[in-house]
Symmetry: C2
Subunit: 199 residues, 2 copies
């Protein structure tokens, strides 16, 4: 038996279906929304509908955008000969935060994962190949996550891209800035020694 | 500068305004909602609006309900001479889960808290006093949280209620069932010894 009114229970169900939100947290969030002024609750509901209807993928790089082309692809100051391949839109944000990279992106929207039945046709690989084939691209940087699936995807893509005569690179492995050698795992430390640079 | 489209950023802002949801989690939730099928995203938005417009307080006990009177107050089998006073609607759920209590409730929607500028007029005390004055109430159980503010609220209410000639009781303090004496704090253990019962 449920002790909450049906529409409150329904809202709790929706919150509980979000990733990382348990039943208790969902209740807390639902109570919070109930306690909001009417216009704020309406604004929240509208925000969901607006985002769903306005946001889609950039025609060129597949990153999320409201226009036909995302701001990065539309910018005249970005280096269009370099493409940084990432798995998710949030990874673009991480790299942009560094203010170091001035090229463009390509968002795969996933990584190859045989275990989860994600194959080459399920992520935006075709679009990347077309882009490299039709434009004057010099370098493709693989910036997928440094885990098994990210690695495999980077290797797979590099094999597909090499025939186009582009330089394919991978993010450097090594010790994170500000970290501590004592707590660095063996694999990272080995890669850091392997990739050592002259100072 | 924001790297997300405005309507996505707006949705992230709304999620980030929820209690216990940080910026990173909000982004994750917003991406999840973006990835939902259209009808599910719409159902989520509708759930917010429905809950806001349908749910209000029970005329008698102030618990959240969709009707004029909540199911507990409307039930003919519940003992209407006993009122259990709780601070939040979720506390009703906790007590109902125990399937032990058969009386009615009164939800204060807060506790007295001078630090947060919550005084007697800001919570549903007036409604409780009217209810006790106008009905044949035998016992009022104080089930506010066992913290400073919950304690103070219970003490304040008990002083207001005693003149009506009702029995005012407080939940028992003691060691939680299934816990471990070693990890029980001193204050709880003292109260457990003080309130010991014969076996």
């Amino acid at each position: 038996m449920s002790f909450f009114p049906a529409s409150l229970e329904n809202l709790v169900d929706h919150f509980a279906s979000l990733p990382g939100v348990g039943r208790k947290s969902a209740q807390r969030l639902a109570f919070h929304v109930l306690g909001l002024p009417d216009e704020e609750a309406r604004a929240f509901a509208d925000a969901i509908l607006d985002a769903k209807s306005n946001v889609h993928c950039c025609r060129i790089c597949q990153n999320l955008t409201e226009g036909e082309i995302c701001p990065v692809c539309a910018s005249p100051t970005r280096d269009k000969t370099t493409i940084c391949v990432v798995s998710e839109p949030r990874d673009v944000l991480s790299i942009e935060r560094g203010r170091e990279y001035n090229g463009t992106y390509h968002v795969l929207h996933g990584v190859l994962s045989p275990m989860s039945h994600v194959g080459p046709d399920d992520i935006r690989i075709k679009e990347l190949l077309t882009r490299v084939a039709e434009n004057d691209i010099e370098e493709v940087i693989m910036a997928t996550n440094p885990d098994t699936e990210g690695e495999a995807t980077a290797m797979y893509l590099s094999r597909l891209l090499k025939p186009f005569g582009v330089k394919v690179t991978r993010l450097a492995y090594g010790i994170p800035v500000g970290s501590n050698l004592e707590f660095t795992d063996d694999a990272t430390l080995s890669r850091a020694i392997e990739g050592r640079t002259e100072i």
